[in-house]
Subunit: 127 residues, 2 copies
C-alpha cells in the first residue's frame, strides 16, 4: 500500500520530478505529470523516450512530488518500476492526466505509443 | 559559461530538484534553493547531508530548475560538482539565499556546517 500522504500528493494536481538512470549510471530528471493508484505511483510517458529506455534497463527511480501550493511540502519517493503497461490502459490514463492538468500552457499532441510506468515505492520521505 | 536561459532560471526565485547518487548508484532527488554565478549552478547544503556525501563519492548530478510561474518551463542541468566551497563564503551564500527565498513556510535554523556545491554544466536542456 502506498503511504497516504504520498498518495494524496500524487493524486492531486501537482508536478513531479522523475529521475531515471542512463546505462552509464548518470541521472536524468524531468518535470512530469503524475498520478497514483492504491499501491503505485504512476508516470505516463512514450516508448521512444529515454525515461522508458532507461527504466527498461535499470528500474530504479525517484519521483519527487511537489505540492503546487507550497514548495517546502513534497514527498520524495524512492522505488523501482515494477510493471510497464501499454495499449488502451496507457492511453486512457493519459487522457485522464490531460483532464486533471488541463492547462493552456500545455499543447503537446500525442506523438508516440503511451506507456505507464507503475512504480513500487520502497521509501516515501515527506518534507 | 553558463547558458543564459539556465542562468536566469537559477538566479530567479525558483526551486530546483537536485539529484545525487548513492554509492550503490540509486538516485536521491530533493527540492532545493538554487543560485548561479556566470559559470556554475550553485547549491548550498550541509556537510552531514547525503547530498554532500554522495557528490564527494560520485560528482554526477542533475539540477532541474523550475519556473515558479509556469511548471512547463524548466531547465534540466546535467553536470558534476567541480568544487566544494566551505567556510565564510558558504555561510554568506546561505544568507543570500535566505534573503532571496524569504518565506514564512521556511523556518529551519542553521544546523550544520554549510558547503556550496559548485556545479559545472555539461548539458542544459530547456523545456
Amino acid at each position: 500500500m502506498l503511504d497516504e500522504a504520498a498518495k494524496m500528493l500524487a493524486q492531486g494536481r501537482n508536478f513531479a520530478a522523475l529521475t531515471t538512470l542512463f546505462p552509464d549510471g548518470r541521472p536524468q530528471t524531468q518535470v512530469m505529470w503524475v498520478h497514483a493508484d492504491d499501491d503505485h505511483v504512476l508516470i505516463n510517458t512514450e516508448v521512444h523516450r529515454a525515461k522508458f529506455k532507461n527504466t527498461s534497463n535499470d528500474p530504479r527511480v525517484t519521483v519527487t512530488v511537489m505540492d503546487a501550493e507550497n514548495p517546502y511540502h513534497y514527498v520524495e519517493v524512492r522505488g523501482h518500476v515494477a510493471e510497464f503497461v501499454r495499449g488502451d490502459e496507457a492511453l486512457e490514463n493519459y487522457q485522464l492526466l490531460r483532464q486533471k492538468y488541463r492547462s493552456k500552457n500545455y499543447s503537446k499532441a500525442i506523438e508516440g505509443e503511451r506507456v505507464i510506468l507503475k512504480i513500487e515505492v520502497e521509501q516515501a520521505i515527506i518534507h
